[in-house]
């Protein structure tokens, strides 16, 4: 699943996801009927709309194959959020079946496939933003393990890592002042360690922080870790 954000804005990340999986020997399929995980509607409180989208998505991704998503947030939606919206619904089992097959990309590589190191090279200092929807999951550690194993990468820890960047989906437009305030604090911590790039497992956080930084006249280079992995393959 490439996510609605990649479908609309971040085609290179969708490509990187395919290329990373194929490098690992996976056969990738892309069901063309896919659109979104349904999270915007869940978070907005419109659970009827949410169920409509999740039903469609569960249909598109029916079968047995693992569903790999380059976003911890969409995965949290399908693994956990969708179950909330489907309590008492007759087709909840289909939604739960999809949840069991859904993997965040780094988690799949490290804990699904057992791949712990990544070849290639990347000469850069990286600040890694753990997105909030990877809390309590294996995704953050997995992405860090892969990035940390790439020759040339230096990871730069920064302060208040547990704080949210302020994206939060529709929150970013419903609470624009608070969202931007949170984003500026987060950027302050990140830019203080002067990384060559800001990397995360969620493009949505990066879109928000990158957009804020650019508007403020202090742009920061943002990359999804899948793009870093893919690019590393081409550097030796």
């Amino acid at each position: 699943m490439i996510t609605c954000l990649c479908d609309a804005f971040f085609d290179d990340l969708a490509r990187a996801t395919v290329e990373v999986l194929e490098h690992l020997g996976c056969t990738v399929s892309f069901p063309a009927g896919q659109a979104c995980c349904g999270q915007p509607a869940l978070n907005s409180g419109d659970w009827a709309a949410c169920r409509r989208v999740v039903r469609h998505t569960a249909g598109v991704f029916s079968g047995e194959a693992p569903v790999i998503v380059p976003s911890a947030s969409c995965v949290a939606m399908l693994r956990h959020g969708a179950g909330l919206a489907f309590e008492g619904e007759p087709d909840r089992p289909q939604v739960e079946q999809l949840a069991l097959r859904t993997w965040e990309l780094a988690d799949f590589i490290v804990n699904g496939l057992g791949v712990r190191t990544w070849p290639g090279r990347c000469d850069a200092t990286i600040a890694f933003h753990r997105s909030c929807h990877s809390r309590g999951t294996a995704s953050g550690e997995a992405a860090l393990a892969l990035l940390g194993s790439i020759a040339g990468i230096q990871l730069r820890p920064f302060g208040e890592a547990e704080q949210c960047c302020g994206f939060g989906g529709t929150f970013a437009v419903s609470f624009p002042h608070i969202s931007a305030g949170m984003g500026r604090l987060k950027l302050g911590q990140i830019q203080a360690v002067q990384p060559d790039m800001l990397v995360s497992g969620d493009m949505s956080c990066l879109m928000h922080m990158g957009g804020l930084a650019e508007r403020a006249g202090r742009p920061v280079k943002t990359r999804h870790f899948a793009q870093v992995l893919r690019d590393a393959l081409h550097q030796t």
């Binding site: 547990e162 302020g166 931007a180």
Partner: protein, 473 residues
Amino acid sequence: MALQPIDQFAARLPAAQRESVRQATKGTHEKRTQLLLDRFADGDGLRRLAGQIKQHVIENLDTYLPQVEARLQANGARVHWAATGEEACAAVLGILKARGATKLVKAKTMVSEEIGLADYLERHGIESLETDLGEFIVQIDHDHPSHIVRPIIHKTRGEIARSFEREGLGAYDDDPQVITQRARRYLRKKYLEAGAGLTGANFVSIESGRLVVVTNEGNSRFCLAASKCHIALVGIEKLVPRDCDLALFLSLLARSATAQPLTVYTEFIAGPKSPAQPDGPEEMHVVFLDNGRTEVLASECRDILRCIRCGACLNVCPVYRQAGGHAYRSVYPGPVGAVLSPMLAGGRFPEFADLPKASSLCGACQEVCPVDIPIPDLLLRLRDRGKREGAALASAGTPPMGAWALLASRPALWRAALAAGKLIDHVPTRLLPVPALQAWSAERTLPAWRGGTFRAWWRRRGRRRPGNGAQVP
């Protein structure tokens, strides 16, 4: 598109106040994390265990409340039941009148804020004085607490010094030590004059009927030392099964609330003074308050009744740090308040239907909660309820999802939208009638539209490499 009140409040909040709230909450949060992880091999395991114990208690309140009542009575306390805040206020007033008391000293209790006890007593001719320093300052300023553990987190010491000067407590001096000494001198004689002392209870042991009250100032002890009558105002969810459970709960409470291994004073009160004791209250009354709690218990949000009011979720919450506690327009602010306040509001739920929206759902609150309350899930449930009940505040500032859901469930429409989205690259945002886009663009740039680009790449590649990507093996 109507705006979200909490975001508006945050936009107006003075920068200095935001910064002082942030520094204070950040400091406590970071110390708390260290303390919890240093001392315990599995701090997270303790949180989950405590959560299970409290969940067990609230799901068996019908069994446990009569048990604890019997225990308290055996200990010599009188037990009162109050279904509403009004009934609880009336019960306290009745106790005071029966004793002919006209002055009451109060230790800090959020439940008394919840039911508006001080105002009620004042209207009935009783002088009710807050003895917790923070609450005392709130009282002389006719203000409201903005944090459940640190009521004056929004005030500077300069403001406090001016309030003290205004109240005739001494010439302007913003040295915290001087302020504390002055409050102490003023309060000492008030303890001696009071006819009764009122406290809350952090925990009540079902096994022994012991009330546990924690403070850092020792003011609850003073409230009880001089007066002949102790009134404890307690929410019905405050029970823990056994005395030995208190080891777990006290360890978690102090660490979570104030980043201390234990509060400075921890009182265990097992009844009025016994004949052998020289001092202490002759009478002890426990007023158990429902005030909407059984309705919460009957709802899908019952987990919130586990809460032990430590304030850790406020301290870590990035939204609370931006907006401050008064933004929540209710006694309980922050993540716990965003669940509890709309629930306790009963029929006035629509007035607070925006509170559950004031969260990026980042999950930091659940991560720090000493009783592991799934606050983000509860916020989501209340958003669903707000939408179903048509509460205007639940939808304020929120992009409508109906049309989007239609697009996202019809592949042909979705692909058409991916193509049409190109518009945003060519038309200035301010001219597009999409409020969400304008709210986004006020502070952030938007990346270039690449709708459908990946799909085109995938199709081209499929043609070049027949068989690849067409099937799941």
